[in-house]
């Protein structure tokens, strides 16, 4: 297993390098010049000012040299400096990472637990009203745009009944500590995590249901039934466990993309995460920051893919690690 992991890490580094080089050029292909964006925001734009900004950003150097400087930095774990935000990129990302992880992992847990649970029930009672009800419920949240669900949530739970806060990570100025702070953050987390979680839940519900119905028809389930095992044992130990493999695959892909994938939710709920940082960096053509976020997200995808492969082995012992 160790040699498997080592080989995957080496491959991961090569993939990461390719991502960095590709993104480096892709970002620069987009129209828009960070120096002009900043000059524009300053309400003035003379030649001297734009030239100064280009020098400051290092944009006056030839592209290959800019790339070399950047890759050299990455090799020493230096993600560069955001001149727009006047801070090291690694610091800016580290500031936002905890909030993003809290939101996306909570949403991920909600979607996975509810999705598998609902999927199992739907498969167990396939063709009944319960199955139809669950399918409709899941598809409603999948079909509605996230920003719409978010705004309706705010309208209902913040404006109408005033149960939950409409924005932010915590109550600003309350200076809460200990359990009170935990409760405060949790209250702020409910709506964004549910909005994001319910969207992804539909996929897991549908996938679990379809996969379980497929497994249910296989011979070993009939054998188990013939042996006289109870229905719940058959569903739990034989059907669900075998049906989970595609769900795990999907969850692995989702988990990797969750870091950068919550832009809309973070924007509507003013959640101070990486998605918003990335979006702002994109609008401002803050190249170093944008690349830094991309690198972080890529590393996350690689890590989660590795974890997914390891979980495969746990779910299905027949799978072996091939070096």
């Amino acid at each position: 297993m160790l040699s498997f992991v080592a080989q995957r890490v080496v491959k991961g580094v090569i993939v990461l390098l390719a991502i960095v080089v590709l993104n480096f050029f892709l970002i620069r292909l987009a129209p828009g010049d960070p120096a002009i964006v900043m000059a524009g925001e300053a309400g003035a734009s003379d030649q001297v000012f734009v030239r100064q900004l280009r020098e400051k950003f290092g944009l006056d150097k030839p592209l290959p040299e800019q790339l070399f400087i950047y890759v050299k930095g990455i090799a020493t774990l230096d993600l560069g400096f955001s001149f727009r935000q006047q801070a090291p990129v690694a610091k800016l990302i580290a500031e936002r990472l905890p909030a993003t992880l809290l939101l996306t992992l909570t949403a991920f847990a909600i979607s996975l637990v509810l999705g598998v649970l609902f999927g199992t029930f739907a498969a167990r009672f396939a063709g009944t009203m319960l199955d139809t009800g669950i399918t409709i419920f899941a598809l409603i949240f999948y079909a509605m745009p996230i920003f719409w669900v978010a705004l309706m949530g705010i309208l209902l739970f913040s404006v109408t009944v005033d149960w939950l806060p409409s924005f932010g990570y915590e109550t600003v100025g309350a200076n809460l500590t200990g359990p009170a702070h935990v409760v405060d953050v949790a209250r702020h987390l409910v709506m964004p995590a549910m909005t994001l979680g319910l969207f992804f839940m539909a996929t897991y519900t549908r996938m679990t249901r379809a996969s379980m119905l497929e497994v249910k028809r296989l011979d070993f389930v009939k054998t188990a039934r013939a042996k006289g095992l109870s229905d719940s044992v058959i569903q739990r130990r034989h059907v669900l466990r075998n049906a989970l493999l595609p769900v795990v695959t999907l969850a692995g892909v989702h988990a990797g993309t969750l870091i950068g994938g919550a832009v809309i939710t973070e924007t509507v709920f003013a959640w101070p995460g990486i998605g918003r940082l990335m979006y702002d960096a994109l609008l401002q053509r803050d190249y170093n920051l944008l690349l830094g976020v991309f690198v972080t997200c890529s590393v996350m995808v690689l890590i989660f893919n590795l974890i997914t492969d390891l979980i495969y082995r746990l779910v299905d012992p027949r799978i072996e690690f091939a070096a």
């Binding site: 129209p31 828009g32 002009i36 003035a44 100064q52 006047q86 924005f167 003013a270 918003r276």
Partner: protein, 520 residues
């Protein structure tokens, strides 16, 4: 009169008065916290190095300039307590306040002013242009600064507000690498509020400066600038009482009437006199049909600007008559007029020989209101037979296209800074045609007479002479239509009525909250 027009008038006149007048009569109360919205999140707070709108709004509390300006744009004391001008209008002497200290306790002196000017010449494009007429700056003693100009410069007393010329602590910046100086992230000024905390993506917290030189001020203990990126969520934050102040431009314009009607809500359009935002369409004078003056005039006749004001901007603002906003010096409405007249527009297009060539229009990616305005203008122009194609980009992409002159018609709005020499001439003089940059003469208009008028106007004396020059310039420009002027924009500030005296100068919210207090 439509409801929207009525609302606009109410906002412009009645509510402004009701929001401000009673506060003047009451005795200010000390204490309390103001929660205000800041949008978008500023990239930094070091005003000498970053001059975008949100930075000015927050940092106007931390830093100060030598002067501030009342709504009539007359100078008021700030760090300078008095000033005098020599008879030849070339020497300006400022006496600084005594006993002013930086937030770290070090004294503020004339050496800081000299240092700030040298730094701003390198870091602040507008300050560098404003200071171009300065021959030398001297500090004969700790509290005196003398500017000697190369020649008289009419708007000189108008360049000293905090956003245009913020004072920087020499002892913290001299001899350092300015762009990576740690105080950029924990700014130290002389202002009424001190920087305390910035949780990126959430809020910026400022606290009262207990050693502020105006005794008793500021009245407020703390300001939280809340960062809420979604316009609808900002409206909800105000509705649910989580924020007290929505500075101009914080919410979409179509939300303003609804929020204005909320209980205990005060609205004012005041505080934008110095900036006087004016919206227009860049018209590319270099190529295609728009190179013909008659086509440009046809654009002016074809667009229903009253509709834009009454419907898209909910009655806020004023139809522009030309290159100068009515709030700034030397404005005249004695210029050719362009009422909404589609028939005349069609006739002009026919006369110019327009044969349906494609014209690309670039809306401004500043949100829903601007998007709607782009659609309305497109419809107006198509109604008179123009072949319009909308090009959609984000702000950065749009700026690049405009800077590269790769457009036919493009939306914009710019500040005017109180004087035609500071905020008007830059868009029409031929020496400001420079590819790769935005907000200069990107339309490519070139008229030696206009060049001379703006050059003479900046240095002419007395004031009556300047007035004569600028009035002539306005008439020529309006006849030539280098750009299509649309509206004098109004960005109303919406706030809880418990917040008093928030806006007391022509610089508005950007001038800091030192006079504000809470009627608890």
């Amino acid at each position: 009169m439509s409801k929207r027009v009525l609302l606009g008038l109410l906002l412009a006149c009645g509510l402004t008065a009701s929001a401000l007048t009673p506060a003047l009569a009451q005795e200010p109360k000390a204490g309390g916290v103001i929660n205000a919205v800041i949008q978008p999140e500023p990239p930094g707070l070091m005003l000498a190095m970053i001059q975008n709108g949100p930075t000015q709004m927050v940092s106007g509390n931390i830093f100060e300039g030598l002067l501030r300006y009342n709504p009539k744009l007359e100078p008021l004391p700030e760090l300078a307590e008095s000033w005098s001008v020599s008879e030849d209008a070339k020497t300006y002497t400022f006496k600084l306040r005594k006993g002013v200290t930086w937030h770290d306790g070090k004294p503020f002196t004339s050496a800081d002013v000299l240092f700030s000017i040298e730094m701003l010449k390198q870091t602040h494009a507008r300050a560098r242009t404003n200071l171009a007429q300065v021959d030398k700056v001297e500090a004969p003693d700790d509290t005196t600064v003398v500017f000697t100009l190369k020649q008289p410069f009419g708007p000189f007393l108008g360049i000293f507000e905090v956003g245009s010329m913020p004072m920087v602590p020499k002892h913290l910046y001299e001899g350092t690498d300015w762009k990576t100086n740690p105080y950029n992230n924990a700014p130290v000024g002389t202002g009424p509020f001190m920087f305390k905390e910035w949780q990126k993506g959430s809020f910026i917290r400022l606290v009262k400066n207990p050693n502020y030189y105006e005794k008793g001020k500021p009245y407020i203990d703390e300001i939280y600038w809340q960062i809420i990126p979604d316009a609808a969520a900002r409206s909800v934050a105000y509705e649910t009482g989580k924020v007290d102040v929505l500075p101009g431009g914080s919410v979409e314009n179509f939300d303003v009437p609804r929020l204005s009607k909320l209980k205990d809500t005060c609205v004012t359009g005041a505080g934008w006199e110095f900036f006087s935002p004016l919206a227009w369409l860049w018209l590319n004078n270099r190529q295609g049909p728009l190179a013909d003056k008659r086509v440009r005039q046809a654009v002016m006749y074809a667009i229903d600007r009253d509709f834009a004001k009454d419907v898209i901007w909910n009655g806020l603002g004023k139809v522009a008559t030309g290159p100068s906003s009515s709030a700034i010096k030397y404005y005249t409405d004695d210029v050719p007029k362009y009422p909404y007249d589609p028939a005349k527009a069609k006739a002009l297009l026919k006369e110019a020989g327009y044969k349906g060539e494609k014209i690309r229009i670039l809306p401004l990616a500043y949100g829903e209101t601007w998007q709607r305005w782009g659609e309305a203008v497109k419809q107006n122009l198509m109604d008179v037979g123009m072949n319009i194609e909308t090009i959609s980009t984000d702000v950065a992409g749009g700026n690049q296209k405009i800077g590269d002159w790769d457009y036919d018609i493009a939306f914009t709005y710019l500040y005017q800074y109180g004087d035609p020499a500071l905020g008007v001439g830059r868009n029409y003089i031929s020496s400001n045609i420079a590819k790769g940059q935005v907000f200069n003469n990107v339309e490519g208009y070139s008229n030696p007479e206009i060049d001379k008028l703006f050059a003479d106007g900046a240095v002419a004396t007395p004031d009556s002479k300047r007035k004569e020059i600028y009035e002539k310039a306005q008439k020529i420009l309006v006849e030539d239509v280098p750009v299509a002027w649309m509206l004098e924009l109004q960005f109303p500030t919406i706030m809880s009525c418990k917040v008093k005296n928030l806006i007391t100068t022509g610089i508005g919210v950007n001038d800091g909250f030192k006079d504000a207090w809470l009627d608890k």
